[in-house]
Homo-oligomer: 335 residues x 2
DNA sequence: TCGATGGCTGCGAACGTTTGCATCGTAACC
DNA sequence: GGTTACGATGCAAACGTTCGCAGCCATCGA
């Protein structure tokens, strides 16, 4: 392993000069700087992160905590976060908590000391996790607690767009198939729908209880949706929407003729299934990137400041495909 | 931050004893050990990875390099790898190379010094990457080079199972829609198919050129498949299979009545599309776990040994769904 | 010509841990 | 009872880097 000492010897300077030439180039004379950088390049010098972190108090690494890496939603966020971390020359530890609050807290407390800060994505035990990370900077994704920085998808506007679309098609009674009980996103979506319904005034929203955010959840919800007499339904995510379509068809109902279905997230299944799903697309890679940006800012900031509380909402876009259409002329369906 | 010194003071011992009590408990007397562990627990002591890595020469972290985190295939491998790394008390840096060979080499050379070893998943520039990581241990996933440890999916057996299945249904002419030109997996699949065809002797395989491993690749391949006169087709992965089905249907052909389709990977789209795809499932999380296991073994091993070359094949399972059926004209096989 | 100024550079301590070696005390053995 | 041997513990050096401080030299002003 090639160290500062090797570079120093090759360049004919002291190790301090090597360190400075690479870390703060303006503090060293141009000719020296060039000799050093040339030597470093030639020898293939790579600073030892552990050593520099030890002395400087920074590790040069961030942590990303997600409930489920195999979920395309979180995979997309992770991809964006990783890309930005790389651009900034930072390493990124990725941890999958398997949706387990205990594992989440444990991971956070284990990760915190060896990183400069953490991104907590859709945390399941946010209070204990925040406690576990001590004074380490943190950015929350799709969650919010007072005093912390967070990056969230603009669910409220998303729900408004969905409802506008359905209303324009002629729907007046819309069901919402909700996600996990303790999901922050689900709560925001319900709020958004309620607000949108009030604003559009002649659309009625029927909220349905907690369902698993999987295809199975959609299957389970389908019959309840039919029973509400709604002519359209908004699902917690695309998988739930797929499950809905599956069960509705099994009952002999047509999508979108008998019931329009709107998904969320624009996971790539949305355009593969039949019919392709109308859905709300959010740029998840962007969410990951922004989260890392905000975290970097926090890491650079003086520890006393703590950073102001912010909740940054990222745009959502309605993607219209074939799962939504005007309701049957007769109006509300009769089961 | 609480250090060994704090723990030592609290337990009334020296810092060496603290270090030993926690790292190699058998080397310290039981009562002392207990005093130390109690103090450590009480103070919430977390060893500083940077410091311990600096002195011991190990970082306590591994690296995982994948071409595309958003690809469910690699996301699944990453999930498995992460889980096992956590179980072993190791951190896992995850890097997404965006399928870019240059970025891959750069990532490897940046990651190598700050990890104890790397898992390279479906590398796109394996030679230069291996060179870039110096003497650092490495495990290859779905690739193989002489002298290195690798974990691969048993494509040969997979192809045999697929061909057996199709032959039993009565198919005698089977097309293969291949993946990217330089893909190691694709090469293995072609070999496997050829071997299987020879073994089954009355089945003929028609190989089709390189296609993108996406839905679009399948669409592009569909007409060529039809032109071959094959009654069944095996696709490089499930997305390609979906594209095939899409285009075939657009041409008025029925799957599986006119053409049987077999995918690969059992990505979760496989069971969501119509018809649900018969596919070859490999346990990708398991591949990730095993890769980390092998890497840990390499890290522990004496550096001189270098570890023996191995190529460990993980099992593949045929999952039969509705996209395969007997060919239209002939009944069940009657030689 | 001399002192002051300021830009570059080198020295050495420190970060928190591990570990080879020395030390101490005690038990075992003759 | 004296010697040996060994287990338990402490001391201090080292890992590779950063950074405060000090020294050096040249330039500039008086």
């Amino acid at each position: 392993m090639v160290t500062v000492h090797d570079v120093a010897r090759a360049a004919g300077v002291s190790i301090s000069t090597v360190s400075r030439a690479l870390a703060s180039p303006e503090r060293v004379a141009a000719p020296t700087r060039e000799r050093v950088t040339a030597a470093a390049r030639e020898l293939g010098y790579r600073p030892n992160r552990a050593a520099s972190g030890l002395r400087a108090g920074r590790t040069g690494a961030l942590g990303l905590v997600v409930p489920d890496l195999a979920n395309p939603y979180f995979a997309a966020v992770a991809k964006g976060a990783q890309a930005r971390a790389r651009e900034r020359g930072l390493g990124l530890f990725v941890v999958d908590t398997e949706e387990d609050p205990r594992l989440e807290v444990e991971s956070v407390s284990g990760l915190a000391p060896q990183t400069d800060g953490l991104v907590l994505c859709s945390p399941r035990a946010v209070d204990r996790s925040v406690e576990a990370l001590g004074r380490r900077p943190v950015v929350l994704v799709n969650h919010h607690v007072a005093g912390l920085t967070s990056v969230v998808v603009d669910h409220a506007t998303g729900m408004l767009r969905a409802l506008e679309h359905l209303r324009a098609l002629g729907h007046r009674r819309v069901a919402y198939v909700g996600g996990p009980e303790r999901s922050w996103s689900d709560a925001r979506r319900r709020e958004g729908l309620a607000a949108a319904a009030e604003r559009l005034d002649d659309v009625e929203v029927v909220e349905l209880g907690a369902f698993r955010p999987q295809v199975s959840g959609g299957r389970a919800a389908a019959d309840l949706v039919v029973a509400t007499g709604a002519t359209a339904v908004v699902a917690f995510n695309d998988l739930v929407a797929v499950g809905l379509v599956e069960r509705l068809r099994a009952r002999g109902l047509d999508v979108p003729a008998d019931l329009s279905v709107v998904g969320c997230d624009d996971a790539y299944v949305a355009e593969l299934v039949t019919p392709p799903l109308t859905t709300l697309r959010s740029d998840l890679a962007d969410v990951g990137r922004v989260a890392v940006d905000r975290l970097s800012a926090l890491v650079g900031a003086p520890p006393a400041a703590g950073g102001p509380e912010t909740e940054e909402a990222r745009a959502v876009e309605l993607v219209v495909r074939s799962s939504t259409a005007p309701p049957r002329s007769t109006g509300p369906s009769s089961p």
